[in-house]
């Protein structure tokens, strides 16, 4: 018998609780945080139209990170408090 050790990080970082999900987006403000890559423009453009036309979103706010591989800039994160929902994490 060999006793071997778990190589994974059993000490997980403290997680972050999910925000409450809105029951409807009608009349709400939705933020986009783009990584700024070329392919995201068409994606967010299409999503912007869908949110406004099909789900009645009142306003869509577009923001772009200064470094596409790093977390969003602090001033963008601070703005999230003004939005009812945010779309981020979109890749190339």
């Amino acid at each position: 018998m060999i006793h071997v050790l778990d190589p994974t990080n059993e000490m997980k970082a403290a997680g972050i609780a999910q925000a409450a999900r809105p029951s409807s987006l009608a009349g709400k403000t939705v933020g986009f945080i783009s990584n700024g890559k070329e392919g995201t423009k068409a994606y967010f453009g299409h999503l912007d139209r869908m949110l406004r036309e099909e789900l009645g979103v009142a306003e869509v706010v577009w923001r772009t990170k200064s470094n596409y591989s790093a977390p969003a800039d602090a001033h963008i994160v601070a703005e999230i408090n003004n939005w009812h929902a945010v779309v981020t994490g979109v890749g190339d």
């Binding site: 018998m1 060999i2 006793h3 071997v4 050790l5 778990d6 190589p7 994974t8 990080n9 059993e10 000490m11 997980k12 970082a13 403290a14 070329e38 470094n67 591989s69 790093a70 977390p71 890749g91 190339d92």
Partner: protein, 358 residues
Amino acid sequence: MNLSIKPPLTSKVYDVTDFSSAQELYHSNGWTDGLPVVPPTQAAVQACLDWALMTPDQLIGIEPVREQPITAEKLAINAVMAGCLPMHFPIVATAWAAMMQDEFLLHGTTSSTGGCAVLVIINGPIRLEIGANGTFNALANSDRATAVIGRAIRLALINLMDVRPGGIDRTTLGHPGKFSYCIAEDEEDTTWQPLSVVRGIPNDGTSAVTVMAAMAPRQIMNEWTTDPKEILETFAAEMRANQRHYSIYGGNYAIVIPKQLREHIQGAGWTKRDIAEFVYERARIRRAEWADVGKAAVVRDRGESVYTALDSPDHLLVVAAGGPAGGFGAVIPPWMGHKTKAVTAAIGVCVDCEPPKG
């Protein structure tokens, strides 16, 4: 610190019947790079910690984006799995501490579709102690020490940061350096300062590692001149090619110069600084050149803008390494411009380890 009373290891223990069962346990849980691993027993892990004078819960660092703490015990488990001996572990721990500095951008570099690897460059007397070889086959399977240290970096990324293909690792292609990417500088056979000294580590026998988020090596050849400018023009041309074909933006490039070409450059009295300043001037392109390689769509109205491969000469890492014969060299490009920066750290510098005075 009293090490006579050893704090216990706290990782979960699995009981397996034999070596083969251990392999299946680790492979089936996604804990490997696909190759067999050395079963990390308590004794082997403890030996790594003892060698490095570390307690199991010693914090090597906290990854800044996902705020994941990395402890000595967990890193040592992955080092043992990679094949490390205890004497290799201080290098792995120092490299990881360096990787967790903000400027390295560990999360971005290891999750990106761009698919770089962590290049580890070892300097100082520790290279000789562990048998690292900076000569024949320097960028590949040159020796046991660099092979297992590079592998330990990747296994720890997989297991401690969930950097698995399709998981956190979103790489499109990757390159073979993601198995292991570690070299030692051939300090004994050059008149140049070691890379670590160029980057600010005291030249007093202090060993150090430099980590860089690096793409695959691009090999060059020029054995038809002894003129340093002509030799380095070939390196600069490869950097310009990388700017055209991959990324135009400036960042840390490494160039590896083996003995044959090195002796021509050294013989002409050129230092690493002279090399960096020459390459800085020569490795640059106009944005309009993108149109030559199928990227006309992104030239826009900035065709005459000039982009340097290096933001400054300081950003070139010149490494003396490689076998004694052959007019070859290598350019190792950065993952993505200056979004990440190479980090150099001294090995074994411990603020708590000074013996009591008086």
